[in-house]
């Protein structure tokens, strides 16, 4: 049994993304580097063989997913998993949380200009966000952050996959001090760092 066969078996049997660390638990002989090497090998093998599936990098882990061009065939089956699409308000709220987390409901409402209680509950029910802490100050309001399910839902490898503010057509400068009608806001902690490079699909030498 070689390493890439073991890795393939684990990925095949999993129903959610697995990190290299998690995959390495399959055997004492495996470590993270070997797992990543095996995944590169498998990726190249699937590409060469024109397989209908590939290994996607999602939520800091790996998952076997079908290639997008096969969607029309799979969509004919009712019992194939098809997560429902999010509404406009839900997407806007998630965007705010993804860039500003951790932050509270009041600040989200100020940024969007509309109430957020219902949307936040929906997002929490769907496990796309969660309470990650409490702010200092009056009432110690809860602070929200995105979850691993958030990355899985959008097929993101990590939060660094999100576009950086300066890549967007509208450039947002540094926040000015809050106006008289703005509630005290937490300092944004999640500056989007540089987007990581996608792992290449080169076949390893072995």
């Amino acid at each position: 049994m070689n390493a890439h066969q073991i890795v393939e078996a684990v990925l095949f049997a999993a129903d959610a993304p697995l990190t290299a660390d998690e995959i390495a638990r399959a055997d004492e002989s495996l470590d993270e580097d070997q797992v990543e090497q095996a995944i590169r090998f498998l990726k190249a093998e699937y590409d060469d063989a024109l397989r209908s599936f590939q290994i996607a990098e999602i939520a800091e882990g790996y998952q076997i997913l079908t290639r997008p061009e096969f969607a029309p065939y799979l969509e004919r089956f009712d019992n194939v998993a098809r997560p429902s699409r999010l509404s406009g308000p839900a997407l806007e709220t998630l965007a705010i949380i993804a860039y500003r987390q951790p932050l509270g409901r009041i600040e989200i409402e100020y940024i969007r200009g509309v109430g957020a209680a219902g949307v936040l509950k929906t997002l929490q029910d769907r496990e796309l966000i969660d309470v990650v802490g409490r702010a200092e100050g009056l009432g110690r309001p809860v602070l929200y952050g995105t979850t691993q399910r958030f990355l899985e839902h959008f097929g993101l490898k990590s939060l660094e996959d999100l576009p950086r503010p300066e890549e967007l057509p509208v450039v947002l400068r540094e926040r000015t001090p809050p106006g008289p009608d703005e509630p005290p806001a937490e300092q944004p902690t999640a500056e989007a760092p540089s987007a990581s490079e996608e792992e290449g699909g080169e076949r390893p030498t072995e």
Binding site: A56, F70, A71, V80, E92, L94, A95, Y110, G113, G155
Partner: protein
């Protein structure tokens, strides 16, 4: 500062026929007004925009008080900024444009909107790639909050499958029109040609339960008068009604040759049944 703008605020009719439901909120509407008129966001003509904003939200219905409140709050903010700009500013806050915070919010919101569009595209891409098996169901929400996942075609099909209840199944109090005498005649008539008959055969063609009740009562009454007897092999099995021959004859005479006794009798039992019916 922008006093002259007040004259040119009368917008083209139709342009401001804004469908308020289309907007996610007041910032969305404000951005729409600014971007569709190619207004420089760093130099917003407050007077013009405020008038347009107020006109656009005039259509908000009172039923949506929450939504209306958000738009009205923005309207108040716009009016306050407009007033601040009309006031002469002192030297120390000259560099602070009253519109600065509004501009910052608008730009921030526009960026959020852009990001949410990217997220939507990522969501669509991910939805075209399938994992093995099925997703575990999400936590169940209360029925009232669960969106309807049924299509109208399914509702229509289901409606077509519903059987309309027959009118006679409805409970109605009606005078009793089925008499026991009729059932006595029926039993004796059907026993004229044969020695026995199934109870269920006597009910053929009658749908109301009362026919069964009256037929059974008639059977009991005739049994009491020793004109017939009832036999059932086990509970809920078919109930057989046997003609009772004159005493002594009944044994072994089930071949059906009893016509000499039965035809004479129907008139008499009927008369007696009239007395017996109320007791039963």
């Amino acid at each position: 500062m922008d006093l002259t703008l007040a004259e040119e605020t009368v917008p083209r009719e139709g342009f401001l026929l804004v469908e308020i439901d289309r907007f996610q909120g007041p910032l969305d509407l404000l951005l729409h007004l600014i971007r569709t008129q190619d207004i420089d966001v760093f130099d917003i003509p407050l007077s013009k925009i405020t008038d347009q904003f107020l006109q656009a939200i005039r259509g908000i219905q009172a039923r949506d008080l929450d939504g209306a409140g958000e738009f009205l709050e923005m309207a108040a903010t716009l009016i306050r900024i407009k007033a601040q700009m009309l006031l002469p500013r002192t030297a120390e806050d000259e560099d602070e444009d009253p519109r600065a915070e509004l501009v910052r919010r608008l730009l921030e919101y526009e960026q959020i909107r852009e990001i949410s569009q990217r997220l939507s595209a990522a969501e669509a891409d991910r939805a075209r790639r399938f994992a093995k098996g099925f997703n575990p169901p999400r936590p169940r929400r209360p029925v009232a909050e669960t969106p309807l996942e049924t299509t109208w075609e399914e509702v229509f099909d289901a409606a077509l499958r519903v059987e309309t209840p027959e009118p006679h199944r409805q409970h109605r109090v009606t005078p009793r029109t089925i008499s026991m005498e009729d059932k006595v005649v029926l039993i004796l008539d059907s026993l004229r040609e044969t020695t026995r008959v199934e109870f269920s055969r006597l009910l053929l063609g009658f749908e109301e339960r009362m026919h069964g009740v009256m037929t059974f009562l008639a059977g009991l009454e005739l049994t009491r008068r020793r004109l017939l007897y009832l036999r059932q092999t086990k509970p809920f099995a078919e109930l057989w009604i046997y003609r009772r021959e004159s005493p002594g004859e009944q044994a072994g005479l089930e071949g059906g040759e009893g016509e000499e006794t039965v035809p004479a009798e129907p008139s008499e039992p009927v008369n007696r049944a009239e007395e017996g019916a109320p007791e039963a």
